[in-house]
Symmetry: C2
Subunit: 317 residues, 2 copies
Amino acid sequence: MATTTDLYPSRKSEPDEFFPRRDPTVYGTPDDGPLEQEQLDRYRRDGFLFFPGFFSGNELGQYRKELSRLCCDPDMAGREEVITEPDGEEVRSIFRVHHHSQLFDELSRHPRVLPMAEQLLGSPVYLHQSRINYKPGFKGKGFNWHSDFETWHAEDGMPAMRAVSCSVILTDNDMYNGPLMLIPGSHRYFIPCAGPTPDNHYRQSLRVQKLGVPDTDSLAHMIESGGIESAIGPAGSLLLFECNLLHGSNANMSPTPRSNAFFVYNSVFNTPDRPFGARHRRPGFLSNNESFAPLKTARAKHRTDLARETDSALRPA
Amino acid sequence: MATTTDLYPSRKSEPDEFFPRRDPTVYGTPDDGPLEQEQLDRYRRDGFLFFPGFFSGNELGQYRKELSRLCCDPDMAGREEVITEPDGEEVRSIFRVHHHSQLFDELSRHPRVLPMAEQLLGSPVYLHQSRINYKPGFKGKGFNWHSDFETWHAEDGMPAMRAVSCSVILTDNDMYNGPLMLIPGSHRYFIPCAGPTPDNHYRQSLRVQKLGVPDTDSLAHMIESGGIESAIGPAGSLLLFECNLLHGSNANMSPTPRSNAFFVYNSVFNTPDRPFGARHRRPGFLSNNESFAPLKTARAKHRTDLARETDSALRPA
């Protein structure tokens, strides 16, 4: 998609008022995929859908094992894709995880997940970003309220709001281990963030974000009108949330990590060009610039095994 | 009280295992005050008592007004008692608040509060410390898990565990504005903290505490055995918690402040002498070294007014 019009100006020197989004929230219809009208309506209103216990059993176990493996993988140490906590050496996130793990590549193209993303965006999709977040026990710090789209637009050049994030929760989430918090309905407004973007801003912002953060008056307005909800649920729960939905999290006060796998689906009709609010685009591990080819549903070997398991689980004992 | 024996060694260069407390938790009996046997038993087991909506109406309104007044008082600006947030100029806490406010002085000697402290400690009490915490909306940061007694013992010289903290919650507390979190039962063990105390450590620790923080293995053990509870309730709620109970809090993710008044009652038989784990005692605004005289129940004018109000509220309309 070639565009020169900046629909969502941000990172100007002067602060600006928030305004209603200029794109649809839901691009598809109930005929386009597994989500029903009621779910599409809820997503349009709230900006997210939460599915407690979406994955379970062996399948979930495999993802959890892979998560632990990657964190200790000596091949990963020192890579730019590996982000540590702001005041320590604990691994906070690993990016481009669909390149580093066949299993997470398959998860990103899971036949129960990918069609929902395609339906919400009304088109084929590709991965703009993938990562796993660890949030280690006691050490995992929080994130201030922010819209991902603001950054993807200003720093990556994503033109329109036609992307959806998918978080697969791989550890039980409760109110003490720093679950994702969401401001329902906030995706319906764009809050321009003041201040020009310094070069290589991502090196700072992935640890503690200070720029690209909405002003407190706008935030207060969004919370007064929509409240706050937490994505709390058992390991295996799945959260789909709109790219412009305000979200944040608190520190992990519990002994155990709060980990998830995170995939950002962008419409193939919404590929980034030049950033709208920065001099250079962020590197490829944050903002895919390698392939905009539509994702294809995974049909890997382990998926066949899983189908067999599910099948036998359904048979009377 | 004169003592030379260090019952709770801490701040040594090598880490040490936690061990059971060497003092009683409850010093008084049901005959000594308003708390009943069941409440004393619960305090002994959990290390805290929570009273939702303990204060209300005009009385609560007065405390809230006084809280706002002090925060903006130009006489307070620049005083050492005023602590700001770690990365900003917002007021985080004001210490020695019973010196700066007649109303909070009276609250600290409130006839419904003071007798509970005296009963729990089985003796007359004096104020070891008083403060108000603001925790401003969006800007208020959290506190890592810690025992207050560990600091009061190591840095102030408080000999034994015979003190109780009283938090009067002056704004509604919910899970999003950084309420106090407690680890029930953790007061029954002392966790020595490794590392010698630098001089003037309090200047750092009141903003972000890094020393005097328990090791993660001990913390994990305490949480696995006792869980985590949050002091969530309406403005006017009151929390009494034992001086060695592990507690912490998360950042305030909401637009509104989470404020409270905080009084530390220490037994007059437990007055501090020289610090057990630091070269110098902390200044008087943190660790009262002016007067160990027993507190007397407040009988001020506004208390009479309040009694009258309560009285008329009880009369049939």
